[in-house]
Symmetry: C2
Amino acid sequence: MPKVEPRTLSGFMELLPEQQSKLERMMETLRRSYAVYGFTPLDTPVIESAQVLLAKGGGETEKQIYRIPREGGDLALRFDLTVPLAKYVAAHSHELCFPFRRYQIGKVYRGERAQRGRFREFYQADIDIVGDGKLDILNEAEIPAIIYNTFTGLGLKRFKIKVNNRKLLNGFYAMNGMEAKAGEIMRTVDKLDKIGPEKLRQLLIDEVKMLPCKAENVLDFMAIRGTTAEVLARLEDYRGMDAGFDRGLDELIAVTKYLGDFGVPQENFTVDLTIARGLDYYTGTVYETEMTDYPEIGSVCSGGRYDNLAEYYTDRQLPGVGISIGLTRLFYVLNEQGLLSDEPVTAPCDALVIPMTEELGFAVSAATALRAAGVRTQLYTEKKKFKAKIGYADKLKIPFAVLIGEDEISEGVLSVKDMTTGEQRKLSPAQAAAVIKAAVDARNSVSVILENG
Amino acid sequence: MPKVEPRTLSGFMELLPEQQSKLERMMETLRRSYAVYGFTPLDTPVIESAQVLLAKGGGETEKQIYRIPREGGDLALRFDLTVPLAKYVAAHSHELCFPFRRYQIGKVYRGERAQRGRFREFYQADIDIVGDGKLDILNEAEIPAIIYNTFTGLGLKRFKIKVNNRKLLNGFYAMNGMEAKAGEIMRTVDKLDKIGPEKLRQLLIDEVKMLPCKAENVLDFMAIRGTTAEVLARLEDYRGMDAGFDRGLDELIAVTKYLGDFGVPQENFTVDLTIARGLDYYTGTVYETEMTDYPEIGSVCSGGRYDNLAEYYTDRQLPGVGISIGLTRLFYVLNEQGLLSDEPVTAPCDALVIPMTEELGFAVSAATALRAAGVRTQLYTEKKKFKAKIGYADKLKIPFAVLIGEDEISEGVLSVKDMTTGEQRKLSPAQAAAVIKAAVDARNSVSVILENG
């Protein structure tokens, strides 16, 4: 029979079991972290009506969308989790309680040009808090606390959450008479880290067509760095010149104050006036998160406050604040950089039960007892030489082999072999379960991410 | 601004938070159950090349597939998890260890005519054990043990796992000279439960064009019922007439013997000679699972043994055994029948912290302490009347409200209100965490499914 090549499409991540196990562990950490902050899990369809999905329309996104042609209106695959959230909240606004706090970890689709580290199918892990008409500022302070605890839970220590405020930025541009060019300026300032202040000044003058004194104002503003207290003190110098700026500054003061109450350490947090997160969607606090040793990766968790989640679907004013982790890309980068710990068990099971007699009754009962005690157990009954059976446990990195021969059956015990140390002990089924569980739990308590140094 | 109607496509399940929470709990139970039997989690793309996905070709499936037109070859959405598994195993056969045991819980797509209880996007929850060249019979006995523990874990008690063997069936048809019509006969026999033996006899004679004596043979065979021991004894009467039948009977004897060792109770298990599971794919033991009080739902977990998983992709012989739960449909039916327990907490959080002063520092610290202790906690800081705040906890069915006023701040305690009993107590943050966790854990230890009677 002619064979079809069993290929996976390029730009689609498909992992071998060991790597998949690490990704699952990351997802589980995110689910637990999001849940502990009181977010409810949400699941929306991968396919939506193209008309609904593209209600906002235009832009790069529309070109990248996967469409399924249908009479009576195309279908399309979701390209993020925000638009489906907007649809969901608008559709169910009378059945939901506000503030509505949901998390969603799901696959999204963008038909981008495939390149290394870029994916066409990838997981996003989002949280959003959506209010009805209003939403208290405390929610904007809680978001960095969630980011902090989520990344700490993954095992990351060297990261920085950068916070800014769009009202403050817009106010600054307004007080300098630059409202019209604010978007263009923000896009240009975004390059500051890469090109430095000198080249940025030239760009602002030559390309954005700003007067040199105004470009200087922008550079001075963006040069404000230091501790949170220092930055806030410098920003006070601008107070009183623009109502929007003053409101933004008050919000930034509130957010940074509460962050201390939430227990986010100073070293994981900074006010960074250069971040802006796009143009029209965000209206208050904005966030980016940088891995200290890998700034070239860019932000691994971003988001912000918005005033109107679902304006394309409803007249109801639904302000909110949310963040998104590009999980597939983060996993890819961590894996590439060798930052994923090998300590947690990646094998399909904790114990491989190997019967060495024809009669399997005792082995089956032993496996059943181990499973009932919560030990992930596989029975290996294929007709192979002993060496091949132990080799199977070895290759899969199964922590324990449980050998059952005639002696074990007559004594009612299990020979438990620690595959790491080679040590072998005869134990009762209950003892065996306790020993295996303790060793596996210890290994699994190690974080997913293992930072160097 | 003109609005787009925020509609969800028909045939796509989108749940409100309370229901979603119940579905998540079911999925979590399946993940845990599959993992404890030593299956590794697998995740494959939702989109595959249409050429790969339809390598087998033909049939109803092809008409239902969602296609994404592309130059150089259409893409398509997976319609089950078996074809992607076959592709995966064929593509990675040199990197995997066999037997390869994987579970996958994922969405699949079929553009069926939408009708009540039928879904176009639905979750399947599959396990498969794939061998390289051979696979021991014990694996076929382990599958019903997994079904038993999975459904028991969900809280279901009144269900029956039906087992049959395709070699036995084919052997029976061969010994009666009915090989050529075996497929047609099996399809017809499948109606026995609905139409009864009299009508079945007529159908076999009139439509399958069988001689009355042969139809009688089939009816006699299908009428074999009773305990496992009784059925096996009756089947012995046919031994020696067809080698395939004898092999099938030996397999059935082995499978039923081991099932006892695995601890599957007699009342949850039966040999049922009428089940066949399709025509050409399965080659050994086959399984169906019926909810005793809801036979009209049909099988909620089915599968079987196959000889050649990936014949369209590779010459390598990859026999296996697997089962699939149609999770979305099962959830829909359980929900419709009112069988989902309301006891486990469905709220987004276990505790709603309600500050009653302007100063939020203590409330934020209290929430942080509760979260650190594993209590899913939400801070409610919206500017609303107290009644609205408590109403929010009530509507969302949040188990505990934690009230923090000036007294609590000065005493360093939390007023913990049990929302079910109305009882309110002043507790230290550590005590509060312990009380809330104990109550919530007790509720969450109740199974997802709550059978009547």
